[in-house]
């Protein structure tokens, strides 16, 4: 498996180098475009694929809720602070 990957990686590097050696690549040729991009970098490939949801443990969910409450409470405190500042309170 490792050898196969190394072989493929070398082939891909050769393809890219061949294009890089050209003073002006013909980007009207789709194969030239594809040779310069990674498989999951092409817009069509990204449009039709999504990463799946990851499972959130109870601990992580509790942390996310805690941070959400933190933000909400802090926003209220900001509001208090600004109202005081605008009304010139000490």
């Amino acid at each position: 498996m490792k050898e196969e990957e190394t072989k493929r990686w070398k082939q891909e590097a050769e393809i890219e180098q061949a294009v890089a050696a050209e003073a002006r690549p013909d980007l009207r040729d789709p194969n030239v475009v594809l040779s310069l991009l990674e498989a999951d970098q092409v817009v069509a490939a990204k449009t039709h694929t999504r990463f799946g949801r990851r499972k959130l443990s109870a601990g992580i969910r509790a942390m996310l809720w805690g941070l959400r409450i933190y933000v909400f409470v802090m926003l209220v405190i900001v509001l208090i602070s600004v109202l005081r500042a605008l009304h010139g309170a000490p």
Binding site: P25, V43, A45, T49, V78
Partner: protein, 477 residues
């Protein structure tokens, strides 16, 4: 090296199987041939330039490396110089004018170091997944948490955009330019930059504008700073700020918010994706981010030093707004010095307005699945461009409304950025530790320690602000 990823199905999409294999060698190559877009072709052109620079420079490494670096820098420099925005420069100016040379100089260095730690993670996320930050949050954590995250971003971005246009208006008012003309001109500039239809051109023009953030350096030199005191402050973190502790806490929070904010995470990751960076470019992305960090730190310290004469002459800068700093500095820096500060404020506002409105547009496109690239022409990505322009126009219009609560916005914009940061950082840390997404590029132990430390420091800063507001007696204020 190519990596395989565990697969899992979603309702209407195939599972993303990210690898670093070339598209032409992929098993889907024939399907992709007929579906290439303008965006793909432009991105391939940018990739060819990088590949050619590597190929040409293979014999003489350092010069070849420099050319590759020149092609790959951008998102990191832009995000940090964009974050040296109008409210940030106002915070730094307030630091210098209120407390002189001392604690705030090393503190700014520390906050930028924190900024570098988190922004480097977005480089890796973007280069490895080729997905924007908003898209990954929605994909991995679902709509519920994604919407919270987007609400923080949209709310913060809009307030910050308003503050940028206030900065633009105030900066140009130093030269007697009317608010309508100043804000209208800034909007035209935002429009002009995006009409290029190319990410590369947009990036280079915006970087060209951003470098004028350096105007604070000559302004600082005109203030004849005491370099020995600067060196002493950097080493000893002293003298510490004295006076109203609640005010000091607010200024500390505001200074942190001038360096690390949620929009930066979203912007840099999306820009890395739009630029077409790949895992092999991560090293260059790090250098880009470091370069941005160093430039922004130097310019921020220059802004502090430029306003130190106000501290030495006992000028009360407590309620100063943008242009007032420039006007107040004229007796010590001369008209040229005041003009440099005013122009710096204008530049800070305009560059950030471009970057932040683009950040909102990227996030919108990523969440709603519409085209979201500066490589797309308007007809292909009109929702992206309309969001970009619409958010800028709405913020600009608010600035021109008589009696709008602008003072309120300037007061809270940096503080809100700090308070919204911990949840954003937790999502970032979970994404960048996600083995399925990141493979070998996920965080190592040291990176996680640094990331968690930054998150804890921001929570502590937020709690300090809460105590200073609700129970000021606890701080002795």
């Amino acid at each position: 090296m190519p990596r395989e990823r565990k697969s899992h199905k979603t309702d209407s999409f195939e599972t993303a199987q990210l690898t670093t294999e070339s598209a032409v060698a992929s098993s889907h190559a024939q399907d992709l041939v007929g579906q290439l877009t303008h965006e793909d072709v432009d991105r391939a052109h940018d990739r060819w330039r990088v590949a050619r620079a590597r190929w040409i420079g293979r014999g003489w490494k350092s010069l070849g490396g420099l050319q590759v670096l020149w092609l790959l820098v951008g998102p990191g420099v832009l995000v940090f110089l964009g974050e040296n925005d109008a409210p940030s420069m106002l915070s730094y100016s307030a630091d210098g004018a209120r407390y002189g040379i001392g604690f705030f100089i090393p503190f700014v260095v520390l906050t930028f170091a924190m900024g570098f730690i988190v922004q480097e993670m977005t480089v890796r996320l973007g280069a490895v997944t080729h997905r924007g930050h908003a898209e990954l949050i929605f994909d991995r954590f679902g709509r519920f948490w994604g919407l919270f995250s987007m609400a923080d971003l949209v709310f913060g971005n809009f307030l910050t955009l308003v503050a940028e246009f206030i900065g633009v208006r105030a900066g140009l008012s130093f030269f007697g330019i009317r608010p309508g003309i100043a804000v209208g001109g800034a909007l035209l500039l935002v429009l002009a930059v995006i009409t290029t239809g190319r990410y590369w051109t947009w990036e280079r023009i915006t970087m060209g504008l951003a470098i004028f953030n350096g105007l604070f350096i000559p302004a600082a030199l005109l203030a004849h700073p005491d370099w020995q005191a600067v060196g002493h402050a950097l080493v000893t973190w002293s003298p510490l700020p004295r006076g109203d502790r609640a005010e000091i806490v607010l200024l500390i929070l505001s200074t942190i918010g001038a360096t690390v904010t949620p929009w930066m995470l979203f912007f840099q990751q999306s820009a890395v994706v739009d630029k077409g960076m790949q895992p092999r470019d991560i090293k260059a992305g790090r250098i880009d981010t470091l370069l941005g960090t160093v430039l922004a730190t130097v310019f921020a310290i220059a802004a502090i030093l430029a306003t130190v004469p106000l501290f030495h002459h006992g000028i009360n800068a407590a309620d100063f707004e943008y242009a007032q700093f420039a006007q107040a500095l004229v007796p010590w820096l001369g008209h040229a010095g005041g003009a440099l500060v005013a122009l710096g404020m204008f530049e800070a506002g305009i560059v950030a307005a471009i970057a932040i409105s683009t950040s909102s547009a990227y996030a919108f496109g990523e969440v709603f699945g519409t085209a979201h690239s500066l490589n797309r022409p308007f007809r292909e990505a009109w929702p992206f461009y309309l969001i970009l322009l619409g958010s800028a126009c709405a913020a600009a219009a608010l600035v021109l409304i008589p009696h709008a609560p602008l003072e309120f916005i300037v007061l809270i914009v940096n503080v809100i950025a700090v308070l919204a940061m911990p949840p954003a950082l937790v999502f970032l840390l979970m994404l960048v530790n996600d083995r399925e997404l990141m493979g070998e590029h996920r965080n190592n132990f040291g990176m996680n320690v640094a990331g968690v430390t930054v998150t804890i420091l921001l929570v502590i800063a937020g709690l300090g602000f809460a105590v200073a507001t609700v129970m000021p007696s606890l701080l002795g204020g």
